[in-house]
Symmetry: C2
Subunit: 376 residues, 2 copies
């Protein structure tokens, strides 16, 4: 555990060590407005080289520099004669990227973009399409609902906010009861993260319309309890004692361990591991998305976990599968660890997201794969 947290700190340092670039090379002028632009706005954009361009109207700006800060690199914006400022990044990975603007040294969101919660703040984000983008987009198929609600936490003596996804068929089958997945965000994200950048309703609506998964409910809660970063807090008891009882009395669930799954990304995956080891009596499927691994040795030490889990799903982005990254200790190989877990008799599954790093396209794809293996 300590070793893991040290490697986390290392990653955080590497990520925050910002170098400075200038959108090198000749830029292909085929930019289109990204899905993340606010309605009627023209920023952010991306082109066929997967560069991101931001664009800002500030005719009266009395400013020395505006920079685009994306993927740990800074890019200068230039002003044109009409008062528009624009600048673009180097080619980036497909998928979702958080970014911000730096106006004379002040970090601010891009006023043109939609906002997403990550790094403990609401900030700008941009999606660069991938070949499988349509899986994560709103299609003309039956639409589920993302239900925001508050619940009372006896432990915290406070109201907490969560989202519950219900599939389109839920309201048409008043006598049917459903399994439930409890789904956690990453560190310094919150309950909005899966709902917004995670595209959870689109993933599920599209899978269900294609007949590729069983219908189930998804509860999205925030596992950072006391502050936005929330490291090493005990989320398990809140879930077990406050959240699950609320969900089981408010929704038509099948309220037993055989019909309850839990998954999380990055730090949320670590929380899932802690919860599943502590309470294998209430969970029977687990998913760790870029959230570390579970070794055969760890499983062997916890017979209730080892005998009780119907599925252990481990996933990473292809390009993050090097040390140091979240949850992988130096000299260990999560693919081999998953094989060892299988050899020990557990139903373990490893998924690798092509060409993606420690980011949301890895996690959307992980969810897309994981969903198809649940409650079968």
């Amino acid at each position: 555990m300590n070793k893991l947290l040290i490697s986390l700190a290392t990653v955080a340092c590497i990520i925050s060590a910002v170098s400075c670039g200038s959108g090198s090379g000749k830029v292909r002028e085929d930019f289109v407005i990204a899905s993340n632009a606010q309605r009627g706005q023209e920023s952010p954009q991306y082109n066929s080289e997967r560069r991101v361009r931001v664009r800002l109207y500030a005719p009266d700006a009395n400013v020395k520099s505006i920079k685009l800060d994306i993927d740990a690199k800074l890019y200068d914006l230039k002003r044109n004669r009409y008062g528009f400022w624009a600048g673009e990044s180097d080619p980036l990975d497909e998928g979702f990227h958080y970014y911000q603007l730096v106006v004379d040294g002040v970090n601010v969101p891009d006023p043109g973009s939609e906002y997403y919660y990550g790094s403990a703040r609401w900030g700008s984000g941009v999606d660069i399409p991938s070949p499988d983008s349509e899986l994560f987009e709103v299609q003309k198929v039956p639409q589920g609902q993302l239900r925001g609600t508050y619940y009372w936490s006896e432990e915290k003596q406070a109201m907490r906010h969560c989202f519950v996804y219900t599939p389109a068929e839920y309201d048409r089958n008043p006598d049917k009861h459903y399994p439930v997945l409890y789904l956690l965000p990453g560190g310094a994200e919150n309950e909005y993260s899966w709902a917004r950048q995670g595209r959870i309703a689109q993933i599920m609506d599209n899978l269900l319309a294609a007949g590729k998964c069983e219908p189930f409910l998804i509860v999205m809660d925030n596992c950072q309890l006391e502050d936005p970063w929330g490291w090493e807090e005990d989320y398990t008891s809140i879930m077990a004692n406050d959240l699950i009882p609320m969900v089981d009395t408010t929704f038509r669930t099948i309220s037993d361990r055989d019909h309850r799954a839990m998954a999380g990304l990055s730090y949320g995956g670590l929380q899932v591991k802690w919860s599943a080891f502590a309470r294998p009596d209430i969970i029977s499927y687990v998913g760790l998305f870029s959230g570390g691994t579970i070794t055969a040795e760890e499983a062997a030490e916890n017979p209730a976990f080892k005998d009780g889990m119907k599925l252990v799903f481990i996933s990473f982005g292809e390009t993050e599968l090097v040390w140091p990254t979240f949850g992988i200790e130096e000299g260990t190989d999560p693919v081999q660890q998953t094989e060892d877990l299988k050899a020990s008799g557990m139903n373990a599954h490893f998924y690798l997201s092509p060409r993606t790093h420690h980011e949301w396209l890895s996690w959307r794809r992980s969810m897309y794969e994981f969903a198809q293996m649940l409650f079968r």
Copy 2:
């Protein structure tokens, strides 16, 4: 109609004519962090004089000026030795205020605040408490749900996003059917506006817990169809042909005009008037919140409207009730117009929100009053 639109343009000019201030007078140092600050952030704040303070950490800023832009006035922020920038406004009205920062002439959201959609963008907002604030806050009472979903618009040949509020009891009464209120935002706002700054779930949950209103569903849609400003677009047919059928097949509604209401604020109130005049066969309660008036003469020209409406609810903020303001023509008096409407035989009701202008506290209070008069 034309005269009204001219007065709107006048108001817009007045609102955008920004003067420059400096947080005049001695400032009382009893600031507290506003409910609109992001978790873990310290901006915005307000004090007992109802001044708003923003606070920004930018130790490396190479910037000439940062200003707070609120209620059509600019206030300078000052830097302290630790790299924090802060500045405060003059005393403002109670209630919700949109605001932004201006960094060397570039308009950006406050990175510390939650974001709210208004003026055709996601931007910062701050609530200054009023004596009735608790009506609009999350209380430990049974909680309804705010359900985000998409529906297919045959007319637009596109998916559209809306919210549906369901009261806490909805999921516990699988055989009960409910009346529906269709609720519109103001110009350049969207379907999120009532859900977020409108505090609709809190208003309803608290009213229902106090036994002060009937349970009903509330559908929040965006009446700006083609662009974020959307003036004079025809929303009625989208609502009648696409939205109402979706709601009536997805939710347990009582799908007749006697159990259907429509309300809106500002420009949304104008849309409500147009819809109710065009389709009195599908609506029987209307609410115009700072959204103009309906005269006895107009009603007399439309017998289906005059005979069919069970309630016409007109409201304004006390300090906006002067000309020019939205929907009030020079020389007319909406209080007297409502009296005339009553005298003509209609059930009309006028509500005035104490000490508020053309802003969200007026509309939260209007909703609080209107809700108690519906479906009785």
